[in-house]
């Protein structure tokens, strides 16, 4: 099971779960990263962090430490 932090640019996949129950986890869930949600990795910032994904029709950016909480199944 990999995490969103390990995805590569252009990769698509589905969220399987979010780790943790703290503010970061709640925020990720509220923004639509729920189990079953589809995403696509759009890009990475020049300094390597944060990353940018497309989910539920909009663009979301998050830090790698936050992306590491998002467990995903990628389609290749």
């Amino acid at each position: 099971m990999s995490t969103l932090a390990e995805a590569t640019v252009g990769q698509r996949g589905q969220v399987t779960n979010i780790e943790g129950t703290d503010d970061v986890a709640i925020r990720l869930l509220e923004m639509g990263l729920t189990p079953g949600a589809e995403f696509r990795l759009l890009g990475v910032a020049p300094l390597g962090d944060p990353i940018e994904i497309e989910v539920r029709g909009y663009r979301l950016s998050l830090r790698r430490t936050e992306a590491a909480r998002v467990l995903v199944a990628t389609k290749d």
Partner: protein, 738 residues
Amino acid sequence: MPAANPAPDITVALIGNPNTGKSTLFSALCGVRQRVGNFPGVTVEKKVGQTRFHDQSFSIVDLPGSYSLAPRSPDEMVAVDVLLGRQDAVDTPDVVLCIVDASNLERNLYLVSQVLELGRPTVLALNMLDVAEEKGVTIDAEVLAERLGIRVVQVQANKRIGLAELKAALAEAVGGKAKPLPSPFPEPFQEEVGLLVERGVRPRYMAERLLLDTSGYLDSAKLPGVTDEIRTFLVEARERLSTAGVPIPAVEAMSRYGWVSTVTDGVCRRAADRPASLTDRIDRVLTNRWLGSLFFALVMIVMFQSVFYVAEPASAMIDMMNEFLSNLVMQWLGPGALRSLLINGVIAGVGGVLVFLPQIFVLFLFIAILEDCGYMARAAYLMDRLMSRVGLSGKSFIPLLSSFACAIPGIMAARVIEHPRDRLVTILIAPLMSCSARLPVYTLLIGAFIPDRRYLGILGLKGLTMFAMYAIGIIAATLVALVLRRTIVKGSAPPFVMELPSYKLPGLDIVTYRMFDRGWSFVRRAGTLIFAVTIVVWAAGYYPRNPANIDPALMQAEARLQREITELAATGPSAADELDHRERELAQVQGRISGQYLRHSALGQMGQFIEPAVKPLGWDWRIGCAAIASLPAREVVIATLGVIYNLGEEESESAETLSQTLKKATWEETGQPVFNTPVALSIMVFFALCAQCASTLAVMRRETNSWKWPAFTFVYMTVLAYVGAMATYQIGMQFVTS
């Protein structure tokens, strides 16, 4: 006799995600008929506007843009309290207006799901349909309305389309029975909520929120009815649910988005492989590693250049006007308290604020444009890695960068930072960014006291020193931010998770409105404070005023010269040269008299009192005095130095003359020169790090809604400045004497 108002005011609560055009809608509905105030105890602004539809008047409460009604801080609690009618500062809303972005419907409906659960009459404004179309998204508004059970009105806030229908829908919705939607939560969850309600937790919405509150905010908020018994019950309930396969808090997002999917199925059609939208294509460049960074640097450079080149002429004009007024006063009034008050108090004080106004407005304009067009989020995205190294986030970048021109727009721009801790730290370190008011101080002292050496043929020592002053501010800010995050403003890093909204052309009216609104807010608040402080400092520098303290020889010389000038003036143009010579002599004598009055004034005495404290910095009492006097605004130090070193009122503006005078200044006891390179450096370092700016402190008070933080800032920066100046001088003297 005025006719009785046919229908009472309808109170509307306006809520929606950020970047949905909520401000544009509010502006379109209410125009200038809005009032801004405060909710007690929080930093959220209370914005209420008025609008009419036929005979019906509406009061619209603009709630802050949010992604969710799950409160995790007092600021977020405000929206919940208003909607539940528990916030005394506003009337209980009769109807809730939810604005959603049609191009982004799924995520927007998450908030709508929470709002609908409140059971209040609700109307949905479906905005940004043009953006949706461009993204290949079509929405069937009628079916959506059916499924949600509320009125859905299609609007385009920026083009003012659909506003009348919206107001009609709002009026109709009032008093109606909101069709209760089935709860999206699974059975076990609803059961536990029911048990909580039975135990006295009201209303049902709050019971739900308590059960989901794993972050602990609601617990710490000490809500009525939440006893220790209830707390124990909550812990047990969560465990029961966890065993039953209902994860807390994930169940909320899963249930609500599950509901959203059923609502949007068939209603919202997204073209499967949609063409890349304009936003996508723009972002391919702007968030790209090389081009993106380059574009970003360009935008920042343009912003700064415009502040200096566009604002400069306006500032220069205001400066000229100040001088003109001062001269008028000099002609009309004889020397005395009133004239001094007007010139050095009122004109200097008010004029001092006005001179910075063009800069401030230009900055506000840029910040408003960047916010509105969507680039602000990209800037935060690009800079986040850098900022998180000091415990901040990318969203702090533009506020801090703006502070290099002036901390006031920078601190006000910190409003975009959602998380209170990040916002607070950003506000607290913003004044360390060397603002443009420090520039005259640097320029004067570097010009006079830094030798003109060059290294490697191109690096001038003067330029390097200037750069060093800016660097000192940045380094200090970094250290202070790190210390603050570990001590007073402790806490785990808030989530960065941030939406990158679609690009759009900034709306001219919303941008100019923001610029004037914030600019005027600054003038009103800071202006009055600076004015008051300037008067106080003037009074301290003027009184006590006893001619008996002045060297009698000087007083006699003044009287004699004035007599001679009157006589010479009467004899006609032939005595022009002599007249000129006498007038210059008189100016010198009067300068020295001013200097002596200042020494005996309250300010002067304060300066002498602290002299032992500033000696380790290499300063004499006169420099200490000038530093105290610069509390209203940093650049006042230059004028004060001029007066103290006997230049008198008219001459002190000339930088050349001031340089010369400072170079010749000596310690009274020893006759040694006061100013040398280490002293000049220590003064510059002091001003780089000090908080001598009443307006910044005033704005800080407004943005943090308390006097605690500006007071803290003043103290920490003064300590930092003192220590820094002392270190600079002591170390510098080692090099001089060796």
